[in-house]
Amino acid sequence: MKNKLWSILFHLGMLLVAVITVFPFWWMLCASLMPSGEASDFPPRFFPETFTAEHYINLFSRLNLGRYFLNSLLLALGVTLFSLLVNSMAGFAFAKFRFRGRTPLFAGLISAMIIPGQVTMLPVFLLLNKMGLLNSYFGVILPTMASIFGIFLIRQYLQGVPDSLIEAARIDGAGEWLIYWKIILPLAKPVLVTLALFTFMGSWNDFLWPLIVLTREDLYTLPVALSSLLGEHVQDVELMMAGSVVTVVPVLVVFLALQKYYLQGIMIGGVKE
């Protein structure tokens, strides 16, 4: 009897926490569908009285949100593609080649992870300026595509792949590139999905770097556009919420579809030793 009561209380407590974590998204969605002014009523509404899509229409027809969406998408896909290639190659080398300096080189990379990105921000900005890559997608992609975390992730996974597979292919006369392309990549599929997911979400959600590199308005990504929209439309709660929905929903959908892989990434990254 006492146990039953305790269990009910426990589940109610958990439900309360879940409500707290989900409620801001619920309110965001509801407010985005309210007619102008309804979201700033007092007392606040938990549900729209009448539904309207006007803010979404407004965002896409007048405020260029389609373009920002496309910028975010192309950038995230671009970073992901390059990051998969570059980091899987390096991860393969660290996991499967024996060469001088391998251990100290890898250890050095891992300890460099403590260097905050803000330290390199100013010189990289100047470098991109010299290269003429400011206000271009490549200005965002190039500095972010190689990631120490990505190399680490791939290496950890490939260390579990038996060497005999590679040896056998070598005896059959396969070159290293063929081994990488035909054996390693297919075997590493799960961890590649994990890395792709982390990279895509990281790029989609990133703010500081696109803010600095992409200052031309037609190149804004969604987070940058959202933050600049706030300047003019801070009173248009419903419009801002519609913009937030458009920003958040794609990344949520991608996460929900592939959450299994995301969790695996946290396990590999978190239980390192």
Partner: protein, 296 residues
């Protein structure tokens, strides 16, 4: 068996060259810049920058705004960090409880804020914190609490950002703790129960010590992340009111990209870097001590 002696170079080159060009060399360049008066005039012609040695660092030490930003960032890290870790640990223990049903649902719900876009979430919370029609004041009024001007009052602005950060980030640490909890052998708890240990004693003498390595890892990534506080004040308060939420990175951004004081901004970046290195060393020492303690 014929493998090229240099094949590894081919595979390493793309990643290492980009890391070198866009990460390691820029660290050195930043160190150099931090010793110059690199500003908007030097932007067009690098030769215009003059060498100042440690002048920028001295300037930082005498800059009240820098101290304000440093204080605010420490406030955010020292209050927000432990709070986030405690909430994520409690959530992980709760998610790991045997009596829990709908486990996957709760795990997903707790984790949702982590994957969503920080800027969008900050925009949403800006309205939730609104002094007049915001949902948070409305709910608090149910407990008889007077409306609080969360983002407009220098006393409350930082706590408001901390609350948002805990909400946004605890799910990530929670999953790492959960993995740590699931790695603790069940037999430890069984024998403790046979010895008559109650639930609290089991948590205190088994769960917490067993989770020590995980806790260090979680602490360090949380602290490093929190020291880089930027988007929340940028979107929600612009560092205000009265600079109450001006963070180091926001100040660095303003100095570097608004006033083009890139030399001075680099020295601020290096002070941040130095703080993180000291923390990294402390973490390493703690880890060694715990490892040694565990072996005895």
């Amino acid at each position: 068996m014929k493998t090229s002696r240099y094949a590894h170079i081919f595979f390493l080159a793309p990643a290492l060259i980009t890391l070198l060009v866009f990460f390691f060399l820029p660290v050195l360049a930043a160190l150099l810049m931090s010793a110059t008066d690199f500003d908007v005039y030097a932007l067009g012609n690098f030769g215009r920058a003059r060498f100042l040695f440690l002048e920028n660092y001295r300037r930082a030490l005498e800059d009240p705004l820098f101290w304000k930003a440093l204080f605010n960032t420490f406030y955010f890290v020292m209050v927000g960090g432990p709070l986030t870790i405690l909430v994520s640990l409690a959530a992980a223990v709760a998610l790991n409880a045997k009596i829990l049903r709908f486990r996957k649902f709760f795990r997903l719900a707790f984790f949702l804020p982590v994957v969503t876009t920080l800027v969008a979430v900050a925009v949403v919370w800006r309205y939730l914190y609104h002094p007049r029609y915001g949902m948070i004041n409305y709910l608090l009024s149910g407990f008889g609490i007077e409306p609080i001007d969360w983002l407009g009052d220098p006393t409350w602005a930082m706590p408001a950002l901390i609350l948002l950060a805990v909400w946004k980030n605890f799910g990530y640490n929670m999953l790492i703790f959960l993995a740590g909890l699931q790695a603790i052998p069940e037999t430890l708890y069984e024998s403790a129960r046979i010895d008559g240990a109650n639930w609290w004693q089991q948590q205190f003498y088994i769960t917490i010590p067993q989770l020590a390595p995980t806790s260090i890892f979680v602490t360090i990534i949380t602290i490093i992340g929190y020291f880089q506080l930027f988007a929340e004040p940028f979107v929600m308060t612009q560092g205000g009111p009265l600079n109450a939420t001006l963070s180091i990175v926001l100040y660095l951004y303003q100095q570097g990209f608004r006033w083009w004081q890139m030399g001075y901004a680099s020295s601020i970046a290096f002070i941040l870097f130095f703080i993180l290195i000291v923390l990294g060393l402390v973490q390493e020492l703690v880890r060694r001590r715990i490892n040694r303690g565990g072996a005895v």
